[in-house]
Assembly symmetry: C2
Homo-oligomer: 749 residues x 2
C-alpha cells in the first residue's frame, strides 16, 4: 500500500494544519564568572522526581525546559517562553542561561552529572561520560515533537484504503522519518547555530567557523558502526535491538538519530501500538531569541514536515539517507556564508512545501515562510549562522554569549509580576501560574479570558479562577460576601463591628429616615455596586437637599440603597487565607511628594518612571494621569501643575485611593498590630471564607482591638481580593501570597 499522492487525493478542506506540538529546550546555567555554574539545581524548583516542566538534562547545571502538549506552535512557544521566564527567575539572580548550543570554555571536571534520585539515570549518564565524554554532553539544543491531528489522521486513514490504523500510522511516520533524514540538511542550513567550539571543547580547534558543529559528525552522534535501517519499521526495530544485544548501545534512547519515532517505551511496541509522533532533534539554540527558537522556525518546520508527507517515498531509502547525511555534514561544516551546495535538491522540498500551501489554500503567512527560506538560500548571511558570524571574536562567541545571556536574564526580571506570554491574563493569575510552573504543578489554561486554570499533581486536580476562587471555598460563602446586607447581618450577629445602617427600597422611606440621621456622619450607597459608583459620604451631617441628591445618585445605580453610619479612620485591606491574616495593605490616593525643585508635572513624570507602573491593570500600579480630575483637585488645593511643592510636602492628585487611578499601595503587613490581624481573620471565619479581603476602617491602630472593644469597623468583605496588590507594592516589602495558596491547594508537595 503506497502513501504517495495521499494528500493530493484528499479533499482540500482537510484540517491539514491540525497537529499537536511539544518542545524540549536545554540550556546551561552560567555563574558570575561566566563559567558553567557549580551550584546545585535551584531548590525553589521543587522536586525533579516529578517536575513536568523544568528538569535537569545531562548535568546538574543543564536545565531542560519541557512544554506540555500544545494544540498550536504558538501555544507551545508561549509555554516555552513562560518556562524560560520561570527558569530565569528561579536560578540564582547572579546566574544566567547560556544562549548558545556550544558551552563556554569549560573543564570536564566542572561538569557534574545531574543529581537525580533515579539510580538508573545516574548510571546511564556515567556510561555516556565514558563513551562520549562529558564535554560533548554539555551541548544544548531543542527537540521539536509533533503529532499530526487526530481528525487529520482519521481523514487520511479513510482516504488511504488501509485496513489497519496501526499499520497506517506506522507507515506514515516511517515515511516522515525517512523523508526528514533525506531533507534535514535544509534545516541545518537555515537554523544551524553552532559555528565555533570554544577553546578546549575539541582536542583540535576548528580552523574556521562553520554552520553547525552540533549537526555535523563532530556533534553528538553515535559511533560510526551504529547503523540503523529505515527501510521498514521491522528492520529499524531489529537493528536497534541488535545493537543493544551486542552491547554497542546500552539503551534504545542512546541511539541518537536526528529524528526519533515516538509513542511507546520500547520500539518493538510500535508494531502493536503504532507510532504516534515524531521527535525532531536537530535544532541548535537560536541565540537571537530568549526562548532559543522563533515562531517562524516552528511554523516553517511544521510546513516542512507536511511537505515530507506530500513528497513521494524513496525506493532506495537507506542509500538516499546515507547520501543525504553526507550532504548534511558538508553543509553543517561549511562556512556560514557559503551557499547551499549545487547538488542539494532544494527545489524538491521547496516545491513540496509550495504544494501544501497551494493545495490547501494556506494563508499568506505560510507563503511568506517559503519566501523567507528562498531569501535565506540566496543570502546565507541572513541565516542564523550567517548572523552569528559577526558576533565571533577570535573564534570565540563567549562575549556574545555573555551579552545575550545577561540580556535575556534581565528580560526575565524586567516585569517580575508578570508571566511572559500570558500578560493578557489578570496579574494574580499570572503569579499563581508562575508558582505552579516553578513548583512543578501541572498547569492548563482552560479559559484565558476568564482566568480559569486547571492545576494538577498526579490524580489530584484543582480548578482555580482569578487565582483565588477554588474548591476550598463553599459556594455560599462568596454569595454571602457579594451581598452587603447579608454580610453585615452575619458579621453583626457574630458580634463584629459593622457600621450601623438601614436598607431602603424606595426613596420616600429613605427620606423619612432623614430625621434619624440628620445629626450623624453617614454614607449613602447603592446596595450592590462594587466600583465605588453612586456613593456619597457626609463626614459631617448632611442637609436635606444634599441627602436627597445623594439618594438620587445611589438609586440611579441600584434598586436598593443603604444608609450607613460613616466611620472615620484609615481603610486597610486585610488578606485572609484559611483562617490566617497573611497581608495588609494601605491604599493612598495618587500623589506626589515635593522636593523643592521639581514641578508637580515633573514629579508625576518621575513617579511614573517606576517600572511597577503601567496601564490597564497590566502592572501592579497605574500611571498617574494629569487629567481634568487631577487638575481640579490641584486647583482646590491652590496648585497648578507647574507649581513646585516644598520639600517633603505631599500633594494629592485624587480624592479616591483606588490603585486604578494611580493610587499607591503600601504593604503594612509588618507594622500592623496582631490584634487587628486576629480580628480580621475571625471575621473571615464568621462567614466561612477560605479566601477573603477584609476592609477595616481603623481610626487609630495604636489602640488595642478585640471583639469586645474593636476600635475599628468592617465595611466590606471581598471574595475576589486582588492578590497582586499585596505582592508588588509602591512601598513596603510586599507579600507573596500565591505560593501560599498553591501550597494549601497541594499540601502534598
Amino acid at each position: 500500500m503506497s502513501l504517495n499522492g495521499l494528500l493530493e487525493k484528499s479533499p482540500a478542506t482537510l484540517p491539514i494544519l491540525q497537529a499537536t506540538f511539544g518542545l524540549e529546550r536545554e540550556s546551561l546555567r552560567i555563574g558570575k564568572d561566566h563559567r558553567i555554574a557549580q551550584t546545585d539545581h535551584p531548590a525553589c524548583l521543587g522536586s525533579r522526581s516529578f517536575h513536568p516542566y523544568i528538569q535537569t538534562d545531562y548535568s546538574e547545571a543543564q536545565l531542560e525546559l519541557i512544554t506540555p502538549i500544545a494544540h498550536s506552535t504558538k501555544e507551545a512557544l508561549r509555554f516555552l517562553g513562560a518556562l524560560t521566564d520561570v527558569a530565569g527567575r528561579s536560578i540564582d539572580k547572579s546566574e544566567y542561561l547560556w544562549p548558545l548550543s556550544i558551552p563556554p570554555k569549560l573543564c570536564e571536571t566542572d561538569i557534574h552529572i545531574a543529581k537525580l534520585e533515579d539510580d538508573y539515570e545516574c548510571y546511564y549518564r556515567k556510561h555516556l561520560a565514558d563513551v562520549y565524554g562529558k564535554t560533548l554532553q554539555s551541548m544544548s539544543g531543542i527537540h521539536f515533537n509533533m503529532e499530526l491531528g487526530k481528525d487529520l489522521v482519521a481523514s487520511l486513514f479513510k482516504e488511504s484504503g488501509y485496513q489497519s490504523i496501526i499499520d497506517f500510522k506506522n507507515d506514515i511516520h516511517l515515511k516522515l522519518a525517512q523523508n526528514f533524514l533525506r531533507f534535514r540538511w535544509l534545516l541545518t542550513y537555515l537554523y544551524g547555530a553552532s559555528p565555533i567550539a570554544e577553546e578546549g571543547f575539541f582536542s583540535k580547534t576548528l580552523a574556521k567557523p562553520v554552520r553547525s558543529i552540533r549537526n555535523s559528525h563532530l556533534g553528538y552522534v553515535n559511533h560510526k558502526d551504529i547503523q540503523v535501517s529505515y527501510e521498514s519499521l521491522e528492520k529499524y526495530i531489529s537493528d536497534i535491538e541488535a545493537h543493544i544485544a551486542s552491547g554497542k548501545l546500552i539503551a534504545e534512547k542512546e541511539f541518537y538519530s536526528a529524528v526519533r519515532l515516538r509513542g511507546s517505551k520500547h520500539v518493538r511496541d510500535y508494531l502493536t501500538n503504532g507510532v504516534t509522533y515524531l521527535e525532531l532533534r536537530t535544532f541548535d539554540l537560536n541565540p537571537f531569541d530568549n526562548r532559543g527558537i522563533t515562531q517562524e522556525t516552528l511554523d516553517t518546520v511544521h510546513l516542512f514536515v507536511l511537505a515530507l508527507l506530500w513528497l513521494d517515498s524513496s525506493s532506495a531509502i537507506d542509500q538516499d539517507i546515507t547520501e543525504a547525511s553526507k550532504l548534511n555534514d558538508k553543509i553543517a561544516l561549511s562556512h556560514p556564508l557559503d551557499k547551499l551546495p549545487e547538488d542539494a535538491p532544494v527545489e524538491i522540498i521547496l516545491l513540496a512545501m509550495q504544494g501544501i500551501v497551494d493545495y490547501f489554500e494556506l494563508s499568506d503567512y505560510y507563503q511568506g515562510l517559503i519566501d523567507a527560506i528562498k531569501n535565506q538560500i540566496e543570502h546565507p548571511e541572513q541565516t542564523i549562522a550567517g548572523r552569528l558570524l559577526e558576533e565571533i571574536d577570535t573564534l570565540s562567541l563567549e562575549s556574545f554569549g555573555q551579552k545575550q545571556g545577561q540580556a535575556f536574564h534581565d528580560y526575565a526580571w524586567q516585569a517580575p509580576y508578570a508571566l511572559k506570554g500570558y500578560e493578557n491574563m489578570e496579574l494574580s493569575t499570572q503569579l499563581l501560574m508562575f508558582d505552579a510552573i516553578q513548583k512543578g504543578v501541572h498547569l492548563e489554561v482552560l479559559d484565558e479570558n476568564d482566568q480559569f486554570i486547571k492545576l494538577w499533581h498526579g490524580e489530584h486536580v484543582e480548578y482555580v479562577k482569578n487565582a483565588n476562587m477554588t474548591g476550598k471555598d463553599s459556594y455560599i460563602t462568596p454569595l454571602i460576601m457579594e451581598n452587603k446586607v447579608v454580610t453585615k447581618k452575619l458579621l453583626s450577629k457574630a458580634g463584629f463591628p459593622v457600621p450601623k445602617g438601614e436598607e431602603f427600597a424606595d426613596k420616600a422611606a429613605a427620606l423619612r429616615y432623614f430625621s434619624q440621621i440628620k445629626d450623624k456622619a453617614i454614607v449613602v450607597k447603592p446596595k450592590s455596586t462594587n466600583f465605588g459608583l453612586g456613593i456619597s459620604i457626609f463626614k459631617e451631617s448632611a442637609d436635606l437637599t444634599a441627602y436627597q441628591k445623594a439618594l438620587d445618585i445611589a438609586f440611579a445605580e441600584d434598586d436598593t440603597v443603604l444608609i450607613e453610619e460613616f466611620i472615620s479612620g484609615t481603610e486597610y485591606r486585610f488578606f485572609v487565607l484559611d483562617g490566617k491574616c497573611e497581608a495588609m495593605l494601605l491604599r493612598v490616593p495618587a500623589n506626589v511628594v515635593g522636593d523643592g525643585k521639581h514641578t508637580i508635572a515633573q514629579l508625576v513624570e518621575m513617579k511614573n518612571q517606576d517600572p511597577l507602573r503601567g496601564r490597564d491593570h497590566r502592572s501592579p500600579l497605574e500611571i498617574i494621569d494629569l487629567g481634568d480630575v487631577e487638575k481640579l483637585m490641584l486647583q482646590q488645593q491652590g496648585y497648578t501643575p507647574d507649581d513646585i511643592p516644598a520639600d517633603r510636602v505631599r500633594v494629592d492628585l485624587r480624592r479616591n485611593s483606588n490603585i486604578s487611578t494611580g493610587g499607591d499601595s503600601i504593604d503594612v503587613t509588618d507594622i500592623m498590630p496582631d490584634d487587628y490581624k486576629t480580628l480580621a481573620a475571625q471575621m473571615a471565619r464568621a462567614v466561612g471564607a477560605w479566601v477573603c479581603g477584609v476592609d477595616l476602617i481603623i481610626p487609630d491602630k495604636s489602640l488595642p482591638a478585640s471583639k469586645e472593644e474593636p476600635n475599628c469597623a468592617c465595611i466590606e468583605l471581598n471574595f475576589n481580593p486582588a492578590i497582586y496588590l499585596h505582592t508588588y507594592c509602591h512601598e513596603g516589602p510586599g507579600q507573596a501570597l500565591t505560593p501560599k495558596i498553591l501550597a494549601k491547594l497541594f499540601p502534598e508537595l
Copy 2:
C-alpha cells in the same frame, strides 16, 4: 424616680416605633364532621420536641402557631400568615382550622391532651383539666408579645436619669403592665370576638350574645382568690410565689393575667436580669381574617402600648386595676351592639394615643388608626363582635365557623406552589421555606430580593440562596458550569458526549472556519449568554451569507462566539442532587390542542384558566399570549387565531420551549430510562456538582445510553436550575425536590 413625662421630655426624633414583636396563635383542628379532630398531630410537621413554629397547645387537636421575633408588626403578621399557610396544607386535607376562639360543640371526651414527649407538660395539662376542665382549655386566642426597641430603651434610659438599666427596664415594664390592666377594656371592646358559647360549653347557656366570653370572668381565668398585686415588682413576685407555695397554683405560668411580664424563666429573676418584654394575652381570634388578627389591630395595639407609656402611672394601682377589671368584665359581657359604658375613661387613653402621634409626628396611617377607634366607639356594629352578631344563628356560630374555616382552608390550597406573604420571592425559595417551616427548621429571610435565607437547627446553620445554592457545593463548581467552554472541556476530558465545537474571539477566524463546517448542522452562539439570546441554529448546512449573519448576531452579545455541532433530538432537563438524578423535565413550546369545536383564541383562553398559569414568574407556568410572535407563528402554519383546529391536532404558538413564554412543562421522571439518569448524574459528578441541571439532547430515548455509547449529548450544565419547574408541571405528577434538599442539608432531622 418617676417615669411620668419621660416621653414628653425626650427628643421627638426618638425611634419611638422601634420594637420587636412575636405572635402566638392557637387554633383547633376540625374534622370532616365539623367536630374537633380526633386525629393525631400531623406527622409531616416533624417533631414537637423542638418545632419552633408549629406546636400543639393544650390538646392534641389544638395547633399553636408561633412566629419568631420580628422587627415590625408587618413582618410578624407576614410570618403568621406563612405559618397559617403551612399549617393549613400540613393538616389532613379534609380537616380545617376553626376560625373562632370558642370551639364548636364538643364532648370533654373528644378533647385529648396533647401527646407531648415531656412528662411534666403532660402532668401540667392533666392538672389544668382537673382544675378548669378540658372544655375551657379548648378556647383559642392570640398572644401578642412586644419588646421596645433597643435604641429606644437606651435613649429613654439616658433621658430618665436612672442609674441602673435593670431597674429602669423593670419600672417601665411594670408601668406598662399596670396601665395595660387599667385600659385593656378598650381592646375587649374593639377586638372581643367570642360572643356566644356553643351548646354544652357552659352548664348554663348564655341568654344573649356578648362581646367576649373569653375576656370575661367566664373565660379562662384563675380562681378568684388568686390575687396578685401590681404595686411593685417585688410584691408581684412574692404574691405569685406565695400562691405556688400554698399550692393554689402549680406553676408560675398557671397565673393567667391578661398581661405577663416576660424575659426570664422565673419571675424572681427579673429583679436581677430585668423584664425584657410584655405578653398581651387578651386577643380573641378574629374570624374575618385567616390569620386571626389584622395588620390594623397589631398597629393599633402597638400605638396603645406606647400610649400606656405616655400616660402617668396611677398612685393607687391595685385599686385602679380592680375597678378596671370590673369595667372590662362589664364590657366583655355586654351586648355586641352596646356602646362603651359612660364611665369608661376612653378620652384618657385616646388622648395619650393622640399625644404619641402628635409629639412624634407619626404618619397619617397612625392617625387613621385612632380615627378608626373613635368610629368604632361611635358604631359598635363595626367592632368584630358587632359584625359577628349578624353571623349568629340561634345562639350558634357553627355554620359561620364552618364556612369561614373552609374558606381559609381553600385559600391555603389556592396556590400551593407559593408561600403566603412571600409571593415576591422566587418560587423555588418559597417551596424551600415552606418545607423548612413545616419541618421546624428555623428560618430567617436575610435578603428577600436576593432569595437569601438562613436555616438552622440547634447550632447547625445553613445559608441558602435561590433554594439550591448552598455550602454543599464548592465555589469552583458553579464557576465551571457558568463557563461553557470550561464545562465542555471538563466533560469531554472525562469522556462524556458534548457537541464538538470551536471558540472564536474574532470574526475573521470564525469566517475562515466556514470551510470546515459548511456541510454540517451547526449552532452559532455567544459564549456566555444564558437567555437564548444571539443563538442561530442551522439544522441543515448553512450558506456563507447566513453563517456571516449568525456570527454578527452572536458577536453582538459577547466577545467570544462558539460554533458547535448541532445535535438533533429532544432536549431534557435532568435535575441532579448529590449524585442522584431526582427529576427529569421536558419543555415544549406554547401550544394548544384542538377539539374540533373551539377556535385557537378560545383554546388559548381555556388553557390559561389553569391555576398554575400566571404572570411574571409568580406561577409555575406562564399565561400564553396571543401577541405578534404567536400570530406570526400561526400564520407560518397557515392558521389565524379564529381557526378551529381539528380534534387532537396540536398547534404550536412559539418556536422556543421556554416556560416563560407559555411553554408546557412535562414531568418525565417516571418514564425516563435509568441509563440516561445514570449518565446525567455522572456528568454532574464530573464537575463536582452537588446541585446541577443537566441538559441532554436525546435523539431517541428508547436507545440505551452509556458513557461508551451515549446516544445523547450534553449541551449545558446549570448551576441554578429552576427547581419549581419540576414540582408543579403542566403534565406528569411533578417532583417535590426542596424537601430532598432540606433533608440533605439537615440529615439530623
